[in-house]
Symmetry: D3
Subunit: 299 residues, 6 copies
């Protein structure tokens, strides 16, 4: 047991609100989406989108349909509940008030699933076409972190466009934690999108990415700077790059600001790029120098 | 069943100690902290530090205090047990010998919790002020990997200063695994510290970081080289950078060695910096070159 | 409940095969290794390889042998089952057909365990010798992500050499997800291999790495480009670097293409290297430039 | 896979409603209390009622209060939700309709907890006073099935008196399954009630039991017969015995019908009693007969 | 650690086969059904038989069919695997040898499910008609132990008739453990069968029970004695009672031997009956005696 | 949330100690054995005693020994910890004080395991010889509740003889809850003991039972009455029956008081026996009477 004096001193220290803390207290009534539900949500999406890769028994057409039907039903019921928490997160609204809205939003999301599926298959295809080390699609779907990241991103993006708060960001952060790939749900990404290896990739909120674009690990599509509003909070304006069709960016390059990388360009690795480049550009870091020293890095 | 000959051959092969293995055998009696306990420890810390963000029912002041009180009690009892394992890890000491010491250390840690909380709220504030993509604090606390990394680091740093072995490093590696942010518990970090995206950030053991510092993904604050002691093991001396107040370092830059980055400086991305720079510096990578080629990267 | 019309529309949308999907359907009969089994497999390997670091009771030599014996037995029985799934993944083969083959392959893997153990102890030694922040081996084995990554890689590499499909890649991707270190199971890596921090490291399929090589976080040993076969799929040829003995590569550098980095070389950080360098080279990024601006990054 | 013909035949056979089934379909909308919640509910009740026996750390008065406070809060929130399901079980009512009612009922139940606690301590005392084999109260509270049965019964009885459907019966059936003691929540039972061993005890819905009553295993306090209403369903009238104060009933006796066993009576074992007996009665089975036979039971 | 001498002594003591043990060693190759699978099997059966009582979302006819379809598919796949273990339990047979047989038997069981369902609804109806304390069928299905016992019995009986070893007995013992009702899978039981309270009911292997029979708690339908075969093992012949239609047996009565209780009879409680009785009999225990004594039971 | 007034009222009501409660507060420091550990303990005992029936891979003699060795080691380490809790339950003793004693007691228990195993195999044999419905030993070991009850009893009896408090009773109550068989750990039971069906069997603390005794369900071997000590607590003296060799007792009979049932006797079912009977007795309930009535039980 903690001596009572030490216990009470620290309860007091921890439960009396700090000034910073008071500023951050949520307005609503302690509603936030549950992490476990978010993981379950994504599991269900993967099951309905790749039904042949997540259960060993779905060979008969009949049973395949059954699984998809039940998957959709579960997904709907889970999503409706979590949306209702999200709508009350940081907003003082009653349970009844958000009920119809949650139901409506969940149904509208369900209707985007076939298109999400179509896009994801183009991403799998792009990864396969890009990697000499793989000779079947199944390995891509089962093992490649980019697939996990893209499923979460495409679902999060769809939810964000429906105006649902908080959930989209949680979904992309789940993928970020598992893959090291951090795609903001607000980014717009075209078809046949590939990321190889992926660790350290960052794609900012206002990025616009065309079709057939490929990124390697450590690539940042970020902001260069931002202005502050009158409360000192940064203003949310378009501030990330536009990447046109058929662009490839090699590992660890940073492309920053509202610039445009023209179609069919190749950006080499470890490049710091803060200005627009025309279509079909080839951009490389300056050649490194050979030097001499004798001990350790010895500079 | 494995044929008995193959089984016995490999049991022999695996259980007879290699020369390297013998050198590494722990001195103590098989005591090491449990990973599950480490995760539970951090869950409890998050609960007492952000009580309004981890349980849906803590609205009444009374119950809020109760939860914090029980959280502290559990934290204490778990920590005491794990400290006693850590004290015996690699040291031959008896159970009774470490008992009083573990108790004492756990209590002293409890007394640092209110200050840890205060610092963490400054970090949350810094992240919020830094990110145009967010419009409420709750989203930062719930979703941002930097918050998870900083809670683990600030707890680990506090435990390290109390002289507790092994546990601090396990805590920061847990955060490393989940966020890609690797902060050594020995680093000194001031208030209002922000890391955006975070994957690939490395902050070395002897770093000293001021207030209001912001890092982006992939930034390394590392060592350049080190000398060896008479056993060939590297000597542990100050060897990582000092970053003064109000510095920002952009993505993928490496700042190495016991150098000083003066206050109010900005270090651009993808920079390799191994010398001190004065206050208010602006350091950028040399401009990349445009080139021409026709097939693949084709250099 | 979802209104029946919406439900049926989306079941139809999701269960009718897309053109891309049809192309990707696995040939075999829904057989793929289970993720949970893969995690259990690696847990068993760690237990037999580091028996003194994963159970608090294995002090007596007798019981140590018992644990290793049972660990091997479990490992064998689990691996045999998963290999039989892997052999049928994407290939139409009957259960009896693969039974003997799976048994044989699992036994041959068991016979490689003592050598895998020997190599891993050299890796632990290399990490220890490389890090001033650590003063005992136990902390390396328990906490360092590189150890987890190397156990998975060395097992995966051994399985790949036996011709077992899919499983090797899943094992290295598991480590990738937990450590941010992405080593292709096809790479050849010598003794005493160290990776510090590790997040963002990528080691490609056809890399050849000598003894006593050290990499830092964010290093890519990758391919520069590749040719396509007549179906438009890239050709799998040697396309990644050869790193000779005693080379160190600092953080965030990219070394690309079938080039050779000569022995005893040091490659500095943030370097983009696409040509061979002779033994004892020292390669550094060109010095960054100091500049002046007044607001944000302000370029 | 099941051949499609067999599959469809049995789906049809199982999903087309039988005549009996149609009669039994619930009126409401698939709402029923969850078994896991029922178990958690009883765990919480035991924790607030016996706080010193279910957690190893509640020694300090302060922390003891905290645990009880949080236990009550959790209990309330769980009970409110389950009551709202119970109110809709078999009744077509909307979510909003039952909301206020559930809240109200849960609060009224909370207010009965101190009296439930008082009664339970009299029961523990009665068991202790009755059993030569035990020498401390802790063993009674931790091990004796009657304690588990009485906690569930006293909670169920309290909920039933508040008019809450379904839940009371589930709670007593949970205890029935674990202890073999089947007490209908409708029974009225006084203070200091003891059941020894308990397996096979049945106490019917309209029983009235005084104070200081003791039952042994296999005792039935049941109904003798019942009349049917116009739909052929049995009429629910007082039909079980009244047992006055200070009565003991020995093992396997059946006491049936709306009869009265007068105070201070002793009913021997294996007795079939269907008529009232005056106070201070002693009732025994007729003496068994000795007989002779040679093989097995040989009658 | 156990001192090595004590450890080895007891390993020897426990691993060297006793004479009794050697006699009992199974002939087959360590194959037996898994308890977890048996529980899952029964969960699946309850789901397809009472689809409206085990999932909150099965309102739409379409989704109801889907659930039943998937339930049957899972049940089949699980049962097939467990039957193959059961067929090898105590019999030396190869994996391929039992494969077709298991598949065949599992399919034949699936075809009995609609009839099992029909019978179970008659049992629920009988319980409802028998109990004044209940006013809806849902409560019977959710709470009454007899329902659990009858589902397990009717499935076990069906499997036994198909000649499947071991599994039937495990299923009825699972129900026995949870309800105290012990029905041998070999017994023949008609429609509309009711058991009230149930603890202690035993129904022997060769019982034949008609329609509309009701038993109360503690009733034994057992054997009186048995002859031994030449190895001293008892001979398995008809040795349990025949209970004709419309019979009621009250609590704790024992009816033993191959006797017949004629239709429309009532057997009172606590009766020991070892001879046949004609239709419409009323059998009661002799009236207990009132006696006098002064202290405890005082006989 | 509960309104604060109601919350505080009930916290007060529940946390202020009742008079009865104060009397029952444990003396020691909140130490009691954990239920989960008790279950794990018995699982380990079953594994070392019946190694061929609880793991599918123990065919090789070598591996069989390994499993038993590790089972014993785990059992010892778990038991030592739980004994140390039990020794402090209700007794104010320090951690160090009980440490050596717990270790000693656990080792002495380990040394009784081979004899416990020998006895259990005689019990399995007795059940097999007694039941015409079974034709292999494996089914007895896997399914029969008496086996579970006897394993728990024989272990509990052994621990009780070593003077270990609380744990023995918890173990037999665990078996009681799962099988309905309630054997006090203090009872002395010989070899080849059989209980058929078992629900409702009660065997009191001071029973002495010979070899080759068989009981049926619902049999009570109980106490008739007891005297009180000066504090009103019943005196613990021999008060349960002595059952000599080769006795069979049929279902639901109660045998009460310190009487002797002579060897080779048969006691029929539903008998109430409170006096000694000589060897080779046959005792039967008086014959029930046939009566007439027309409606329900209608007496």
């Amino acid at each position: 047991m903690i001596p009572e004096e030490i216990l009470l001193r620290n309860i007091r220290g921890l439960s009396s609100c700090l000034e910073e803390e008071r500023m951050m207290l949520p307005n609503g009534a302690g509603h936030f989406p549950s992490m476990d539900s978010m993981r379950e949500l994504m599991r269900l999406v993967r099951e309905v989108v790749f039904p042949d890769f997540f259960d060993k028994q779905r060979e008969s057409t009949k049973i395949r349909e059954y699984f998809i039907g039940i998957g959709i039903e579960r997904l709907y019921s889970l999503l409706k509940r979590e949306i209702s928490h999200a709508l009350r997160f940081n907003h003082e609204r009653g349970a009844n008030d958000v009920d119809t809205e949650s139901r409506e939003l969940a149904l509208r999301f369900i209707d985007t699933l076939p298109e999400i599926k179509r896009l994801l298959y183009t991403d799998v295809r792009a990864m396969y076409d890009n990697d000499p080390a793989v000779d079947n699609y199944g390995e891509v779907i089962l093992c490649y972190p980019v697939v996990l990241a893209m499923v979460n991103y495409r679902v999060a993006h769809s939810l964000l466009k429906l105006g649902i708060p908080v959930i989209p960001r949680i979904l992309t952060e789940l993928a970020h934690s598992m893959t090291g790939i951090d795609i903001h749900p607000g980014a717009e990404i075209g078809e046949y999108f590939a990321i190889d290896h992926g660790t350290g990739v960052v794609i900012g909120e206002t990025c616009i990415i065309g079709n057939h674009v490929t990124l390697y690990q450590g690539v940042t599509l970020g902001a260069k700077n931002f202005s502050l509003d009158s409360h000192g909070h940064p203003v949310n304006v378009p501030r990330h790059p536009i990447i046109e069709d058929n662009v490839t960016v090699y590992s660890n390059s940073s492309i920053l600001g509202r610039i445009t990388v023209g179609h069919d360009s190749i950006i080499g690795g470890n490049v710091w790029l803060t200005y627009s480049v025309p279509p079909e550009s080839r951009i490389l870091q300056r050649k490194a120098v050979a030097t001499t020293f004798t001990d350790g890095l010895g500079i």
